[in-house]
């Protein structure tokens, strides 16, 4: 375990968080933030190359989490890059003071630590702690502008999040109670790898109960309807890099936790099949978010609802299960992370250029800011499920595989997808096309991160490299 890249993945963020909290100066801290993210990312990539460590009582690297770690560190890196320019602008306009920026950067790394820890943990208790850590740091970041709205959003997030925390903990305790007679007292009954192995002998009723609490507890973080209420406001009022990370990563991490427990429950054949619950919540999220999209006036809140919609799709896919749907769900998670964070990068730029987040005041971007406008258009089309982007691939697989098995569900799914598509296109038309409105100053930062993400999403839609595909297949089989 000594040479393992796990250590830098966890320690670099923690260390830099401490350092960043101490250092003054925006330029230095921004660069340091990027540097730390680069290091973490490199360490994450090294996970692929170096032999994997044996799963311990606390940490684990397996097929399921490795790609999420890499994805997490990658988006963390691009978001840090984007954030450097973004925060610079915020300082110039006086929305953030240097003290808060220092705090922001420290929190950023702490949040990355929390998410990485959650992904790496092999212990359901540790996972709980890590996810709560990540949540609390994001709460603080959402409120960082200290405006009335931001505080309110943070407060809402905090309260709803706390209840979610409590429910998830109760679920965790229930899992322990179920495991304890089989695996014995103490830590072994909380180690995920052992839990999965022992699950067939657990009490099914306790597992059922545990799964309900975990689904609702972590589902609050995922933003599943009707537990989603914090999500749109938190996205809309926080700094845009955080919105990107929230949508792109934190939701994924929470969903990852749900997946882990789904595997656990699925391992006990007598327990309630977790599928229908997830399918139900997924569909409700998808369709509800689809409707909510139509009345949005705030750009970021709009895309926050779109995240809810996509979390619904993914939850649905995992609920359906089977190699095809699981594959599609995993792919969709990755594609959604990349695309949605790219969109937030674009939206953040646009909002800074135009000085507003209102749809009505951002128009005709392709005319006034071609690079930004077209990039955003690509992102929105991609998230709407248009080929040749990767989201299309996953949606194609989800819809076709579902329709062959349960047509009625697929029809609902398609209805939700089309609903959201209509809203996305409506907004795309007004954002990107038409005569420009508002400021036409050139954008401060070139949308490099946006195009980088889109390039990956595009490539994935056309060509998945063999190893990646094998990995996905493997995990899809694991998920059952």
């Amino acid at each position: 375990m000594s040479l393992s890249p796990i250590i830098p993945i966890l320690l670099v963020p923690v260390g830099s968080a401490a350092l960043l909290a101490l250092l003054p100066g925006y330029r230095l801290t921004a660069r340091l933030n990027v540097l730390a993210s680069v290091l973490t990312f490199l360490a994450a990539v090294a996970l692929f190359v170096l032999p994997r460590p044996e799963p311990g009582n606390y940490l684990l690297v397996d097929d399921l989490n490795i790609v999420f770690i890499v994805l997490n560190c990658f988006v963390g890196l691009t978001a840090a890059l984007f954030s450097a320019g973004y925060i610079g602008h915020e300082i110039e306009t006086g929305r953030l003071t240097p003290v808060y920026v220092r705090f922001y950067h420290a929190m950023y790394q702490l949040m990355m630590f929390g998410m990485n820890l959650a992904l790496l943990s092999n212990n359901i208790g540790l996972m709980w702690v890590a996810i709560e850590l990540a949540t609390l740091t994001t709460v603080l970041m959402v409120g960082i502008y200290r405006t009335h709205e931001a505080l309110e959003a943070a407060w809402k997030y905090f309260i709803l999040g706390s209840v979610g925390i409590a429910l998830a903990l109760f679920g965790t305790i229930l899992v322990y109670v179920a495991a304890q007679p089989v695996l014995g007292d103490g830590t072994p009954s909380m180690v995920w790898t052992r839990l999965v192995a022992g699950a067939p002998r657990f009490d099914p009723a306790l597992l059922n109960l545990a799964f309900v609490f975990l689904l609702l507890g972590y589902g609050t973080k995922v933003g599943l309807v009707p537990l989603h209420a914090w999500l749109p406001d938190a996205h809309a009022e926080g700094p845009t890099p955080i919105s990107a990370v929230l949508s792109g990563l934190l939701l994924n991490v929470a969903l990852y936790a749900v997946l882990r427990f789904k595997m656990l429950v699925a391992a006990q054949p007598e327990a309630l099949a977790p599928g229908p619950l997830m399918i139900g919540m997924g569909l409700v999220s998808l369709i509800f978010a689809g409707f909510m999209l139509y009345r949005r006036r705030d750009v970021k809140r709009f895309f926050a609802y779109s995240s809810i919609e996509h979390m619904g799709i993914i939850t649905f896919a995992f609920g359906m299960g089977g190699p095809l749907a699981n594959f599609a769900g995993l792919l969709h998670m990755v594609m959604h992370s990349l695309t949605k964070s790219a969109i937030f990068f674009g939206v953040g730029n646009a909002a800074q250029v135009k000085g507003t987040q209102k749809f009505a005041e951002i128009r005709g971007l392709s005319q006034s800011h071609p690079a930004l406008g077209w990039g955003l258009a690509l992102g929105i089309l991609a998230i709407a499920g248009m080929p040749p982007f990767g989201v299309f691939l996953s949606e194609f697989l989800i819809v076709t595989s579902t329709f062959a098995r349960t047509p009625a569900l697929a029809l609902l799914l398609v209805f939700g997808l089309l609903l959201a598509f209509g809203a996305l296109l409506l907004r795309l038309t007004s954002l990107v096309f038409g005569p420009p409105e508002g400021s036409e100053h050139p954008a401060r930062a070139a949308p490099v991160a946006l195009y980088l993400h889109m390039a990956i999403v595009l490539t994935a839609g056309l060509y998945l490299p063999g190893p990646v595909e094998h990995w996905f297949q493997n995990v899809a089989r694991l998920l059952g």
Binding site: V163, A166, F170, V177, L206
Partner: protein
Amino acid sequence: MERMAFDTAHLLAGGLVLVSFMMIYQDRLQALLNTFTLHAVVLSGAVAWQAWTQAAGHLYVTAAIALIFKAIIIPSALTRIVQRLGIHREVEQVVGTGLTMLTGMGLVALSIVLMLHVTSKATAFAREDLAFALSVVLLGLLMMVTRRNAVSQVVGFMSLENGLILAAAGARGMPLVVEISVAFSILVAFIVIGIFLFRIRERFDTVDVRALDSFRGERR
């Protein structure tokens, strides 16, 4: 001895549920705070008893935290807030007490029915005490939902959390219980500080939607 240990634990857990009902019944803030203090004391006793029967030393810490923090510090802090805001007499329920009580009984029944499904493979604790813990959790949630005032919602949240601690303490050999109780105490402290700092009196339940409308720009 085994029987006695079990019965006492059972009694304390049942007592916690009872106190939860008492809290739901209260319609004055000050009385609610007082009842909550009782809740915390009972919890502390239950945890301490578990510590003794399981011979788990760390649980005494949890019991102590429950006693000091929840039975003493938080209630007194909240009392100050209540008095400063001048709302100690507020009657602030959304639905009538009777209905709430009925719902609460339904929730307890639900918890028991759920636990009946648990097979005999699980320990007796799992079958019985978990039902109480679940009841306390649900009753806490019910309290959060049926009260308008931020302070009583905090109390609801804390009683919910007490249910968690009860469950965690009852789970034989569960690690991290102390850490969890500390973490939750910090969380609660944050909430209380939040209420204190932002003077959130009604923010939990802003009835006046126009106040939201003014900045959110979302409503037609």
